[in-house]
């Protein structure tokens, strides 16, 4: 079985010739900063949830390279369809921290982001975003744009028919769609190895007749490189790709989960050595003059930015009750129009 595509070892050594973008210090610093920003957001979100100021939240701890790597390869012409664990990707695309806090804080306005207007909100029902991605890709193809639909789901999602059925139509119709699997080894409490006997999740592309590639999902360079190649293929009319990003869920499934019920520290701790930020930081220190000052400045800036966004979110008043009616239909049917009046602006 081939090793997953990787450029940096867990310690940050270059193990394969770097792609051009990864020779550029500014690009690598931007990727590193984006992952650090996602992790800072993550810590704040959990802290807010633990103190009753945010709803149930799904952490992306340890998987920041996937969202950031995938979206850093995308353009404004593309459409991102994330699962609920790709905050780093949403942030890279231009969704704001305040909007993410609003969404996870239980306010629909968090999905009305000012940034990538064509992107989908996170998808909670597992794997149901993959058929959407096929439909978005169909529209992009039909309208003869260069855009590509890029959906991300978890390893558990590959057990669902939605995933296989959508992957199949992407293959059958040569749709410009990329399905990315964040294989964090756990579908809540069920291990990847108990989900499927498939050798790799990337192998699942075989039945759809499209390329499937396994990459080191903790190596942001590998994730971005694989996505760039898949985007090029899609833009050249060569159809879709399945990318499996091998990673590890360092945290609980969500803040409502207690992973100690089904796995112990001895299982988790080795994976901390392989998480995505350390290796890129080591690489930046060794090759691009990243100093302690830079690291501290980054943490201070993102910390301040995230704290400020949290304050802004907490100061946002809930919508009036009638908002639950106002956006259900373009023109509310008579009974709902009456309900909106009854619920009122309070």
């Amino acid at each position: 079985m081939p090793e997953p595509l990787g450029f940096l070892s867990a310690a940050g050594e270059v193990v394969r010739d770097l792609p051009d973008f990864a020779r550029d210090g500014d690009t690598l610093r931007a990727l590193y900063s984006a992952m650090a920003r996602a992790r800072t957001f993550d810590a704040k979100a959990i802290a807010l949830q633990r103190t009753g100021r945010l709803g149930t939240y799904a952490s992306s701890l340890g998987q920041e390279a996937i969202g950031v790597g995938v979206t850093s390869a995308m353009t404004d012409a593309d459409v991102f369809l994330p699962s609920f664990r790709e905050h780093g990707g949403q942030l890279w695309r231009g969704v704001t921290l305040v909007e993410l806090f609003l969404y996870w804080g239980g306010d629909e306005r968090g999905n009305d982001f000012a940034g990538p207007r064509q992107d989908f909100p996170v998808c909670i029902p597992v794997a149901s975003q993959f058929p959407h991605a096929a439909g978005v890709a169909l529209a992009l193809q039909q309208k003869a744009t260069t855009g590509v639909a890029v959906a991300v789901g978890g390893d558990g999602a590959t057990s669902k028919g939605d995933f296989y059925e959508a992957l199949n139509v992407v293959g059958a119709w040569d749709l410009p769609a990329i399905f990315v699997i964040n294989n964090n080894q756990w579908a809540i409490s069920v291990r990847r190895t108990d989900q499927t006997r498939a050798r790799t999740l990337a192998d699942k592309a075989v039945a759809a007749g499209i390329p499937g590639e396994q990459v080191d999902g903790n190596d942001v360079i590998a994730v971005r490189e694989a996505t760039e190649r898949a985007l090029r293929r899609a833009r050249d009319g060569e159809g879709g790709t399945l990318i499996e990003c091998v990673s590890y869920r360092l945290g609980d499934h969500t803040t409502a989960d207690d992973a100690s019920r089904y796995r112990d520290d001895a299982e988790v701790s080795p994976h901390w050595k392989a998480e995505p930020l350390i290796r890129l930081r080591n690489h930046l220190v060794a090759n691009h003059g990243w100093r302690k000052d830079d690291e501290q400045a980054l943490l201070r800036t993102t910390g301040d930015e995230v704290d400020k966004a949290a304050e802004t979110y907490l100061a946002v008043a809930p919508e009036p009750a009638r908002a639950m009616v106002d956006h259900l239909y373009a023109t509310p049917p008579a009974d709902l129009a009456a309900l909106a009046e009854e619920l009122g602006d309070g």
């Binding site: 459409v79 369809l81 629909e108 306005r109 999905n111 009305d112 982001f113 207007r117 064509q118 989908f120 909100p121 029902p125 149901s128 993959f130 058929p131 959407h132 991605a133 096929a134 439909g135 978005v136 890709a137 169909l138 529209a139 992009l140 039909q142 309208k143 639909a149 028919g161 939605d162 059925e165 959508a166 199949n168 139509v169 059958a172 119709w173 908002a323 639950m324 956006h327 259900l328 239909y329 373009a330 023109t331 049917p333 008579a334 009974d335 709902l336």
Partner: protein, 326 residues
């Protein structure tokens, strides 16, 4: 103007929509060269090409889910589920996504899609091919559920559904596909989508029904008329939202109501209408609101399906009991 069957009227509306809006796209199983198993799309692939009239792989989940994605990304998909009995796996996409996308993005993304499906029994089809599961769909906030009762109404309502900015499930009473012909002009004119219609005015009794059951309902009204009972027939037409005002207005006039549907009794739409009349029209009612429906059983195989579906006699008998109530 020429006479057309309902299946021809559906085809005319689909063709008209393809002509007038380049964003309209049709997909489903066997809708291309085969023209659909009922021939609703016959000839459309020849006229509009295989990019806009597409045979999908055999997956109802993909048909519905792809319609959501395509609609959000700027197309106007009109997707077909071959039979309503195969629609259940698409309900996930309808309930979790199509019906919610506008609301959960505060109208940043919308879902102007139509999901067509033939429904109902009475054509001696195999099992799973005769279901009337409209109440399951009518329970979903954010959807529209529409059922036409004639060729002209099928034409006008389907155009309205396709032009609507929100998701519409368009259920076609397949027993009527070729049962009746009437004048249908390919005028491009849509009918109001959220409105019930009074098909026949009357003074003694309101009969509420929709789709193919209006055949038996009209026959029952004829029988009752021979006995001097004047029935008003309301074609509900829109099952989500229900045009409650139209039903109430009729019952306030007649004081009596019988609801007829092919779907099972329990938690059927007849229950919702009866409850609404109890809440709003109690003082107008001269007799209990009654329902004549399919039984609370699985739809039987063809040999027994006529024993399952409401017959003209059952409707007449129930209406007579309502008239005799004192």
């Amino acid at each position: 103007m020429a006479e057309h069957t309902m299946i021809e009227a559906v085809r005319m509306a689909l063709g008209r929509a393809l002509e007038e809006d380049p964003d309209v796209i049709l997909f489903g199983e066997d809708i291309g060269i085969d023209g659909g198993v009922f021939r609703a799309t016959d000839g459309l692939i020849q006229r509009h090409g295989s990019a806009r009239v597409r045979d999908t792989p055999l997956s109802e989940t993909v048909i519905a889910g792809m319609a959501v994605g395509a609609a959000a990304a700027g197309l106007r998909p009109v997707a077909e589920i071959q039979f309503m009995g195969f629609l259940y796996s698409a309900i996930d996409q309808l309930a979790n996504h199509a019906a919610r996308l506008r609301n959960r993005t505060r109208a940043r993304l919308t879902c102007p899609m139509v999901l067509r499906a033939p429904y109902g029994g009475g054509i001696r089809a195999p099992e799973h091919h005769s279901e009337s599961a409209e109440a399951m769909l009518a329970h979903i906030p954010g959807l529209r559920v529409v059922i036409p009762s004639s060729p002209a109404r099928a034409y006008g309502l389907l155009l309205a559904a396709i032009r609507d900015p929100d998701p519409v499930v368009f259920l076609e009473p397949k027993r009527l596909y070729r049962a009746i012909s009437e004048d249908v002009a390919d005028s491009g004119e849509a009918l109001p989508i959220d409105a019930a219609v009074v098909l026949r005015e009357g003074t003694d009794l309101t009969l509420v029904s929709w789709g193919a059951m209006l055949t038996e309902t009209k026959a029952a009204a004829d029988t009752l008329a021979a006995d001097g009972v004047s029935s008003e027939i309301v074609d509900l037409s829109s099952l989500k939202p229900i045009d409650r005002r139209a039903v109430r207005a009729s019952v306030e006039k007649t004081g009596r109501c019988v609801i007829v549907h092919e779907a099972p009794l329990t938690a059927g739409l007849g229950a919702e209408i009866a409850a609404d009349l109890a809440e709003h029209c109690l003082m107008s009612l001269l007799a209990p609101v009654r329902r004549v429906t399919g039984h609370d059983t699985v739809m039987p195989y063809p040999r027994l399906e006529r024993r399952y579906m409401p017959s003209t006699e059952r409707i007449v008998r129930t209406a007579q009991e309502v008239m005799e109530f004192a």
